[in-house]
Structure formats: structure tokens, C-alpha cells
Amino acid sequence: MSTETARADVPMVQLVAPDGSAMGDTEVGLTADERRELLRLMIRTRRLDRECWSLQRQGELTVYPPYEGQEAAQVGSAFALGPGDFVFPSFRELAAAVVRGVDVVEYLQYHRGTWHGGPYDPIASRFAPICVPVATQIVHAVGWALGSKLDGAGTCALAYFGDGSASEGDFHEGANMAAVFGAPVILFCQNNGWAISVPGREQYGAPIAARAAGYGIPGVRVDGNDVLAVYTVTRRAVERAQAGDGPTLIEAMTYRIGAHSTADDATRYREEAEVQAWRARDPIARYQAFLLGAGTIDEAFVAASEAEAETWVAEIRAGITALGAPPDAELFEFAFADPPAPLLEQRRELIGDA
């Protein structure tokens, strides 16, 4: 059922089974409100992802990378961070951005094509710009974390990347440097099974989490569709980092239900049966069943969360569709703090003295 290389030598942390039953100690230090919040966030972010797909199909967004199926991996991990911690995302982490409180309309300017990767305030939101060059954000996170260590700030960085990114040299350089410098950083791999059309078995010969041993850092594999398990292993890594014990590599096993992007046709390289098998392990249905069974929520909570998500995405849609092109002058506005004379000359030539 999985595209993952058949290797059982790295155990996978799981707390809630796909049917919603508890598999271990699910008392992970979250209050009932926080448990409900995890579900509410997953419901919200799934609804948002589907809205973005529609917005793209309606011509309101340019190419969009969907994350349906990966809500638990993103929400559970981002939820485990403290307010001073810093996220270095790849380009499919809109759900994590929502958890961190990033302004979604500003974020979607990127996919609207009205600005590049950092249209929101990365410093205020503790969420670095969207990062498309594969794996490059991993070393940024290590640098930020080293700075935090030098400051004695007690904060950590978390870098999101995919299974595909783990083949890049920047993954290796980042992991090695994180270990050498004892940087408070979490290397969070969302292994969603596919690097566009290339399955895991054609990307690596051993579990990504197993590489941690080679760097001398802890490596954990977790069921990425089990939000409580993801939260727990990430929280442990955060506490470790904040205590000065250095980096952790986490490999969250999840699945990209949709295509790589709105420009991709996943039917060309994978079987529908595989997608259906992963739908049966859906992160939201599973957690919802778990919370219902535990009496933490009732059906009314789910209905209210879905209704609330509906209202929320309507506001986002309105915000997005109102976004126009930035003024021409912005073409020249941000390249340098103090635009040099040759650039000002080009500005005059192209847009006059406006």
C-alpha cells in the first residue's frame, strides 16, 4: 500500500490507529481545548486547501501545491512550537502557516502571482518566506538556530522539507552542521511518498530517519497522519532543542492525496488504489473518531468547525480576489536598501519618474 521502501528497521511512533482507536498513551500533555483546537485547525486547513484548488481552477491563483492528506503532519508539528520559535517552510506548508498565525491572504499573494515568496511579515510571524529551491531552507534554519543558541534565547527553528528534498546536498550539509554546532533545530521531513512522480523506492535506499545516526543526532519516524503522535514527537524535539541538547530529525510518514501541483497529473504515475488506501488512513477522520470516542467532542463541534471554516475561507476568497498587481514602481523598490544610480536610471527609463 505504501510507496515507501519496505524496511521495518525504524519503528514508527503511533498513538491513534486509522480507525480512531488509541494505540498507546494518548495523554500527551494537551488540554481538552487544545485537543479540540488540533481538530478545528485540520478541518480549517483542509477546507482552505480545497478552496485554493478551486481558486486556481477559476483563474484566481497561479500554480498551487495542495497539501490534502498532510494536515496532521503540519498542524501537529507547528502546534508543538513555542511563540519564539521560527519555522522555515518549503512551499507546501500553508497549513503550518495557518497554525502560526500567518496572514493567509498575504501568504496567498505568492500563489496569486502578486509577489514572491515572502509577501507576509516573516519576522513578526516567525515564519520564513516560502522556499521553492529544494532543501535550501534547511541550512537557513540551521543558521537561525545557531544564532538563537549564541543569543541564549532558548528558542528553536523547525525546517519543513519533503522526501525529495532529502536527496539534496543541502539536507546533508544542514544536518551535519546542525549536529556539529549543536544547533537547536528540528529537521522535519514530510515524507509524502512522492517527489512529483518519483516514488520513495526510487529516491533512497534506507529510511530517511535512519540517516540521523550517521550525523550523531536523534532520528524519529512518526505516523504523519496521526496528529497526536506528530505533536508528541515534535514537542519532545522542541524541548530537547530549547534545553540545549541540539537537533532532531523527524520523518513523518504521510501522503499527498492530490497532485504535486495544479499543473501536475498524478494519474500518469500512480494507481488510484494507492490513493484510496491512504484515504482510509485520513488524518482528520481518524482524529475526529478518536475525539468522539473519548467524549472530547460531539457531532455539533464538528459541524460548527466546518461551518466556521466555510465562513473563514469565504473571507479569504474575498481578500484574494480583490488583490491586484502591485504598482510598477515596486519592481524597483526592494532590490537594494538604497537603490544605486544605475538602477535608478533603469527605473526612469522603464516607468518614468513616477
Binding site: G118, A128, V139, H140, D151, E173, E333, A335, F336, A341
Partner: protein, 319 residues
């Protein structure tokens, strides 16, 4: 020049506790050229530190550190080993300010011992300036003398934008009398090393000394040349370039890098745009040929020599 650069780093580290110096072998060894000698002992391992041999990682760490409010000064050990970092430099360091709408600055300096002339092995004599100069969002500077190296390095570290700092290895052991100071021409300004109304010689880095030598020998025969040391390839001092060429209406452009699409191409284009009506002769380029940098035994043939520069001036003046 090594001592001036060392003093520049020392003064920057002493002046701003957020400045960090790191790279391969910059700690106890003091760098393979000793530019960082003594700095780790003086400022500690937190502020001056060795890294693994990982140039992309070094450049990438600069991005994260800058986001955290630090001023990283990274050393690439040699020009030929700086290429693994190009992705981080081009995709992030150069673009971060733009892509965050000015909210995140990249006060990053990447020092790269560059160019030929030291009888180095292959990959140790590269002229990488065009790769950086063609990347929007970077400043690119090349000092030609010790005092200017100090000044440019301090100004580069203070600059809010990323600066690629190319150090001419063959001038590392050159000496110059005077006070180390940040006063004087800033980034984006050229320096007139010598006035003359027969021809303008435009150069930068290690070629400045050769051009001065050529100008001196030409002067003996009565041909007075101006020598313009660009110092700053980005931003380019178009005004000084225009003025120096308009004076004589003749120009020779000199660099070590291969000719095609080297800095000379941009400089000549600028001269044509800014001084066409003043030109008395075609502008000539004296450069390395379009071949990979040669082994030590052919280095002297490859590099623009005093003789080649002087001959080019004579041909231009006699046109």
C-alpha cells in the same frame, strides 16, 4: 593587504557584537591566507569559528543568521570552491530583500580569495566576478590595494545589502603606507589612480597595479594615461567612467577574466552609451582569453601583462 583585511575584520568584530566571522579553517589556523589570524583567540569561538567543508551550508547559514539579526562575514576558501554556494547566493542571499518586500535585510559579506597570479593549482585562479555581477541584488567589490581593502571591507560589513568581496590573491602580500580608515570613496565609487589625457585605462583588482606600471612606462615616452580603478563592479560608477573616457576619447579596459561577457563587455557598453560622441578610437579590451584558467607555467601568457596593456594603449592612441 592580508594585514589590512585582518585589521578590517578585527575592527568590525570589535565594533559590533552581532558581527560573526566563519568559514573553512578560519579558526586556529587563521585561514589558508591568514586573513583571520588571531581573531578566534581574541573574540572567542562563538564569534569566529570553523565550519565543515560545506560552501552551500556556509552561505545558507548566512541567510538564517541574517534573519536572526546577525551580520555574517563568511569566507570561501578559494574562488574555485565557491561554486557550490552559488544556489544559496543567487536564489536567496541576492533575492531575500526583494522577496520579503524589504522586511528582511541580508547584511551578508562573502569574502572570496579570487583571481590568478599566484602559481596556484587548477580551481585556484578563477575570476568569478561576472557570475555575481550579473545577479541582481548583490553588490560586488574588488579592492586593489591594502588601504582600500580595509576601507571596502569595513563598508561592506556595514552595508545593509549582501556584498561579494573578491580579494585579489596576487596582491595579498602587497604593501601600502597610510592610515587604515573608512573615510574615502564608498561602495559604488571608482578611484582615479592617475590622471592623463592620452587614454583612459579602466581596471580593478590585481590589474590596477599592472595598469599603473604600464602607465608609468608609457609616460616615459610622453603618453600620459589616466588609470581608473573601478573597485565596485556593482554598483558601477558610471559617472567616473564617463568622465575619464570623455577626457581623452580613448579607453582600454583590462581584466583577468575571459573576454566574452566579462566585466569588460559591460564597461565598453557603458562607454559607448555615455561617451560615444567623445570617442576618438574603438575601445579595446585586454583580458584573459576564453579558455579555462591555465596551469602555473602558462599563467604569465594568460594574464594581461604590462606589455600587452601598454601595446593596447599605443594602438588606441595611434588609431
Amino acid at each position: 593587504m592580508v594585514a589590512a583585511l585582518n585589521a578590517g575584520l578585527r575592527d568590525a568584530l570589535a565594533g559590533d557584537p552581532r558581527t560573526l566571522v566563519f568559514g573553512e579553517d578560519v579558526g586556529a589556523l587563521g585561514g589558508v591566507f591568514r586573513v583571520t589570524e588571531g581573531l578566534q583567540a581574541e573574540f572567542g569561538r562563538d564569534r569566529v569559528f570553523n565550519t565543515p567543508i560545506a560552501e552551500a551550508g556556509i552561505a545558507g547559514m548566512c541567510v538564517g543568521l541574517a534573519m536572526g539579526g546577525w551580520r555574517p562575514v563568511a569566507e570561501m576558501q578559494f574562488d574555485g570552491f565557491s561554486y557550490p554556494a552559488l544556489d544559496q547566493v543567487i536564489s536567496h542571499i541576492a533575492k531575500y530583500r526583494s522577496r520579503t518586500r524589504g522586511r528582511v535585510e541580508m547584511p551578508v559579506v562573502i569574502r572570496i580569495p579570487s583571481f590568478g597570479g599566484i602559481r596556484g593549482k587548477e580551481h585556484h585562479g578563477e575570476s568569478p566576478e561576472t557570475y555575481y555581477a550579473h545577479t541582481a541584488g548583490l553588490k560586488v567589490v574588488v579592492p586593489s590595494s591594502p588601504l582600500d581593502a580595509y576601507r571596502l571591507l569595513r563598508l561592506s560589513i556595514e552595508d545593509p545589502d549582501p556584498v561579494i568581496f573578491l580579494e585579489p590573491k596576487s596582491r595579498y602580500w602587497s604593501k601600502e603606507d597610510g592610515e587604515l580608515s573608512t573615510e574615502g570613496p564608498g561602495i559604488g565609487r571608482a578611484r582615479t589612480l592617475r590622471d592623463g589625457d592620452a587614454c583612459a585605462i579602466v581596471c580593478y583588482g590585481a590589474m590596477a597595479a599592472r595598469c599603473m606600471e604600464a602607465a608609468a612606462s608609457l609616460a616615459e615616452a610622453g603618453t600620459e594615461c589616466a588609470v581608473l580603478d573601478l573597485r565596485s563592479l556593482v554598483p558601477l560608477d558610471v559617472e567616473s567612467l564617463r568622465d575619464v573616457v570623455r577626457t581623452s576619447g580613448r579607453a582600454v579596459v583590462v581584466h583577468e577574466a575571459p573576454r566574452t561577457l566579462g566585466m569588460g563587455a559591460e564597461i565598453v557598453a557603458r562607454i559607448v552609451e555615455e561617451a560615444f560622441d567623445h570617442l576618438e578610437a574603438p575601445v579595446v579590451r585586454v583580458t584573459g582569453p576564453d579558455v579555462p584558467y591555465p596551469p602555473a607555467s602558462l599563467e604569465d601568457r594568460y594574464l594581461p601583462s604590462v606589455e600587452r596593456i601598454a601595446n593596447a594603449v599605443r594602438a588606441t592612441v595611434g588609431y
